[in-house]
C-alpha cells in the first residue's frame, strides 16, 4: 500500500501538483483510517490533501480514478501533462526558494542594470548619431537585415527595462508626501509620559503600476508581432507586476511562458502561440473572455491596460464597444497602441477602432521603438 501511495504521489507530481513529504506522510496516516476502506470516501480526503489550486481540483478526479481504479494511467498523464508543463516548471522554480526572498535582491540588481541602460540609451538619443537611434525611428516593417533585426529586438527589451526602472524611481521620490501618524506617535511616547518627543510619520505606500498587455497577433498585424512579442518579454521580465495576453480569434494568457529566463526559447514559444490561425481577429470576444475570466485577478486600481492592435475586428463593433466599456470601468487607464498611426495619412476608419475609441485614454502610434519610448512619461504619471 505504501508503495502504491508513493506511486500515486509521483503520478500527481508528474501532472504538476506541488506535493512534498508532508503531504505523503499525512496521506499515509489517512490510509489507516476508516475512510480509506472505500475509494468513494478516500477520494475526497486525498483531494483535499493533495490539491492546492482550483486547476488541481478539477483534474484530480481523473488522475485518482486512473491510478486507483485501474483506468489507463498513461493516458491521463498524456492529457494533462502537456498542457501543464509550464505550471510544473513554474512550481519547480518556486520551490527552489521563496519568490519574495529571492526576487528582491534580483530586482535591485536589475534596476541598476536598467539605470545603466537608460543612461546609455539617453546618451544615444541626445547625440542622435548612433545606429541605435536610426533603428529606433525605423518602422518595424522596413527592418529586413537580420543583424538589424536582432539589434532592434535587443533595443526593445532594453527599452522595456528602462521604462520599468524609471517608473520605480519616480515612485520613490513621490513617497516624500508624509503626514503625522498620531496613533504611533502616542505609542512611541508613552515612555516619555505622553509628551511627544519622538514623532512617527506616515508615508503613502504607492502600489507599483501594473501593466496588462493584450497583443493582437492576427494576420493583419503579422509584420509587427515579432517585435511586440520581444517587447512583451522585456516588460513581463522587468515589471514585477505585468501580465501579458495574446489574442487573434481567441485569447491566451502568456505570462507564464514569457517568464522563461531563456529569451530565445520564450520568444519562440510565444511566436508559435501568436501565429494567428486564419479567420480574422475577434477583438470583442477576446476582450469578453478577458473581462470574464482574467480581469478580476489581474486588474487592480493601479492597472494600465495596453492593447496593441490595428483595430481590424471581424466581430460585431457593438460587442467590442460593450466590452471596452466594461474594461474601462475596472482599470485605471486604457492605452491603445496602433502601429498604423505611424503610416502617413492614417485615420482610424476601421469600424472596430471607431467603436473602441471613446473608451481609450491614450491612442498612440507604435510602429517604431521611439514611439514606444514616448509612452514612458505617460505611464509614469498614471
Amino acid at each position: 500500500m505504501r508503495e502504491r501511495l508513493a506511486g500515486f504521489a509521483r503520478t500527481l507530481r508528474d501532472n504538476g501538483f506541488a506535493i512534498g513529504l508532508a503531504e505523503t506522510r499525512d496521506a499515509l496516516t489517512v490510509l489507516t483510517q476508516p475512510v480509506a476502506r472505500r475509494p468513494e470516501s478516500l477520494k475526497p480526503a486525498f483531494r483535499s490533501l493533495f490539491c492546492a489550486t482550483h486547476s488541481d481540483w478539477e483534474r484530480f478526479d481523473e488522475i485518482f480514478d486512473a491510478y486507483w481504479l485501474g483506468a489507463n494511467v498513461r493516458r491521463a498523464r498524456g492529457v494533462s501533462g502537456g498542457a501543464d508543463a509550464h505550471t510544473s516548471l513554474r512550481r519547480r522554480a518556486d520551490r527552489a526558494g521563496p519568490r519574495g526572498a529571492l526576487g528582491q535582491p534580483d530586482h535591485v540588481g536589475r534596476r541598476t542594470e536598467g539605470d545603466g541602460y537608460s543612461d546609455a540609451d539617453g546618451l544615444a538619443r541626445r547625440e542622435g548619431a548612433s545606429r541605435a537611434e536610426n533603428l529606433a525611428v525605423t518602422d518595424f516593417r522596413h527592418i529586413t537585415d537580420p543583424a538589424d533585426m536582432a539589434r532592434a529586438h535587443a533595443l526593445a527589451e532594453r527599452l522595456a527595462r528602462t521604462m520599468r526602472a524609471r517608473l520605480v524611481r519616480r515612485e520613490q521620490v513621490r513617497r516624500r508626501g508624509r503626514r503625522l501618524d498620531l496613533r504611533r506617535t502616542i505609542h512611541r511616547n508613552v515612555s516619555h509620559g505622553g509628551t511627544p518627543v519622538e514623532l512617527a510619520w506616515r508615508r503613502r505606500k504607492n502600489k507599483p503600476l501594473r501593466l496588462v498587455v493584450l497583443l493582437d497577433a492576427s494576420g493583419s498585424m503579422s509584420l509587427y508581432t515579432a517585435f511586440f512579442v520581444r517587447l512583451l518579454h522585456g516588460i513581463v521580465d522587468a515589471f514585477r507586476e505585468a501580465e501579458a495576453f495574446v489574442f487573434h480569434t481567441r485569447l491566451a494568457h502568456v505570462s507564464p511562458s514569457l517568464r522563461d529566463r531563456d529569451v530565445t526559447r520564450a520568444v519562440d514559444k510565444l511566436s508559435l502561440m501568436a501565429q494567428g490561425i486564419g479567420g480574422g481577429t475577434r477583438i470583442g470576444e477576446s476582450l469578453a473572455t478577458f473581462n470574464r475570466w482574467h480581469a478580476r485577478r489581474v486588474i487592480n486600481s493601479r492597472t494600465a491596460v495596453m492593447i496593441v492592435s490595428d483595430g481590424y475586428d471581424t466581430g460585431e463593433p457593438q460587442r467590442l464597444a460593450d466590452e471596452m466599456r466594461r474594461l474601462r470601468r475596472r482599470c485605471r487607464r486604457i492605452i491603445w497602441l496602433n502601429p498604423l498611426i505611424g503610416w502617413r495619412d492614417y485615420s482610424p476608419q476601421a469600424r472596430g477602432m471607431q467603436a473602441a475609441l471613446p473608451y481609450v485614454d491614450l491612442f498612440a502610434p507604435a510602429h517604431n521603438l521611439e514611439s514606444f519610448a514616448a509612452l514612458e512619461p505617460y505611464l509614469a504619471r498614471i
Binding site: 506541488a18 512534498g20 508532508a22 503531504e23 499525512d26 496516516t29 489517512v30 483510517q33 476508516p34 475512510v35 470516501s41 475526497p44 480526503a45 483531494r47 483535499s48 490533501l49 490539491c51 492546492a52 489550486t53 482550483h54 488541481d56 481540483w57 478539477e58 512550481r91 518556486d94 520551490r95 521563496p98 519568490r99 519574495g100 496613533r183 502616542i186 505609542h187 508613552v190 515612555s191 509620559g193 505622553g194 505606500k205 478580476r296 485577478r297 466594461r326
Partner: protein
C-alpha cells in the same frame, strides 16, 4: 489537546443538525482538518457559502467563532494586538501625580491590563479551541500573508514589551479566498484545500427548505431550478446562495405557490437576485419567461 475527534459521518450528522446542508465532500474535508490538525483553505466564487462553512463548523463543535476580515492594508495592529494608549496615558498621569517611580510605571502600563486583543491573539488565548475564520485572505497584502503563515505554523506570538505568548489552545483555522489575487504557494501547501462550487439544484432546494421555514417543497425546487438557470446566463454578478434565500423568502412572503402562475411577481422580484443595472437590462421579461418555461 482536543478532547474529541469526530469521524466523518458524525460530522455530517452534526452539520445537518445545525442546519447546514453539506455536500458529502465538505464533511470529509472537515474531518481531515480535525484529523491532521491543519488549516482549511476554501476557494470559490463569491456567494457560494464559504463563510457559512466556518460558521457551521463552529456550531458543530460548540466552539466560538472568531472572525478576521481581511482587507488591503490590514496590519498586525488590527489583526493581532494593540496597546490601549489612552488608558496607558491616563495611568501615567495618575501615577506621576502620586509620585511613583518611572520604572514601575512603565512595568505597570505594559501589562496585560492594557493589552487589547485583536482576532488572531484572541484565537490562541481562549481556554477551549475556537474556530478562527480568516475571511477573504486574498484581499490582505502579501506581507500579511507571510506573517499569517508564521503564526499558523508556530501558534505563538511575541510582543516585545510583554514576551512570548504561546497558544493555550490551537484554533481550528478556516481561510477563504475569492481569487482576487494569487495566494502564495507556501500558504497553499500549509492548508488543506476545498473548492466550493454553487450547490446543485437538489442541494440548493434543500438549503431553501431548511432556511425558509414553511416553504412548499415544490416551490423550493422550482426556485432552485430557476436560480440555476439564471446562473448559466452571461451575467456580471452571478447570484449567490444568500440571494437565492432572499428571493425564496420574498416569494414565500408574497404568497406565491407556483412560479408558473406568477411570472409577473417573478420578474418584479428579480432584484433580489440581480444586483447590477446591466444584468437587470439583460434579464428582460422575455428572458425570464423563457427561463421560467424551461424550469417550471
Amino acid at each position: 489537546m482536543r478532547v474529541m475527534t469526530l469521524d466523518r459521518n458524525e460530522i455530517s450528522e452534526r452539520l445537518a443538525a445545525v442546519g447546514y446542508v453539506a455536500d458529502r465532500d465538505i464533511a470529509t474535508a472537515l474531518w481531515l482538518m480535525e484529523f491532521l490538525k491543519r488549516p482549511l483553505l476554501l476557494e470559490g466564487e463569491a456567494g457560494v457559502g464559504k463563510t457559512e462553512v466556518a460558521k457551521s463548523l463552529a456550531a458543530v463543535h460548540g466552539a466560538e467563532l472568531i472572525r478576521l476580515q481581511c482587507y488591503e492594508g490590514l496590519d498586525q495592529n488590527a489583526a493581532l494586538y494593540e496597546w490601549n494608549y489612552q488608558r496607558q496615558l491616563l495611568a501615567i498621569k495618575a501615577r506621576e501625580a502620586a509620585g511613583e517611580d518611572a520604572d514601575r510605571v512603565e512595568e505597570h502600563i505594559f501589562s496585560e491590563r492594557y493589552l487589547l486583543e485583536r482576532p488572531l491573539l484572541a484565537a490562541i488565548r481562549r481556554p477551549s479551541p475556537p474556530v478562527l475564520l480568516v475571511d477573504e485572505v486574498d484581499r490582505a497584502d502579501e506581507e500579511f500573508e507571510a506573517f499569517l503563515l508564521e503564526l499558523l505554523s508556530d501558534f505563538q506570538v511575541s510582543i516585545p514589551e510583554l514576551g512570548t505568548i504561546t497558544a493555550t489552545s490551537i484554533p481550528r483555522v478556516v481561510l477563504t479566498s475569492n481569487g482576487t489575487r494569487e495566494l502564495s504557494d507556501a500558504l497553499r501547501r500549509r492548508c488543506l484545500y476545498h473548492y466550493v462550487d454553487f450547490p446543485d439544484v437538489e442541494r440548493e432546494a434543500n438549503i431553501i427548505r431548511v432556511r425558509t421555514p414553511g416553504i412548499d417543497t415544490a416551490l423550493a425546487l422550482q426556485i432552485a431550478r430557476m436560480v440555476s438557470a439564471i446562473r448559466k446566463e452571461d451575467l456580471q454578478k452571478v447570484p449567490g446562495v444568500a440571494e437565492t434565500l432572499d428571493w425564496a423568502a420574498t416569494l414565500a412572503g408574497l404568497g406565491v405557490h407556483d412560479l408558473r402562475q406568477a411570472s409577473d411577481v417573478v420578474h418584479d422580484t428579480m432584484m433580489c437576485l440581480i444586483k447590477t443595472h446591466e444584468d437587470r437590462a439583460r434579464l428582460t421579461r422575455e428572458v425570464s419567461e423563457r427561463l421560467l418555461g424551461k424550469v417550471a
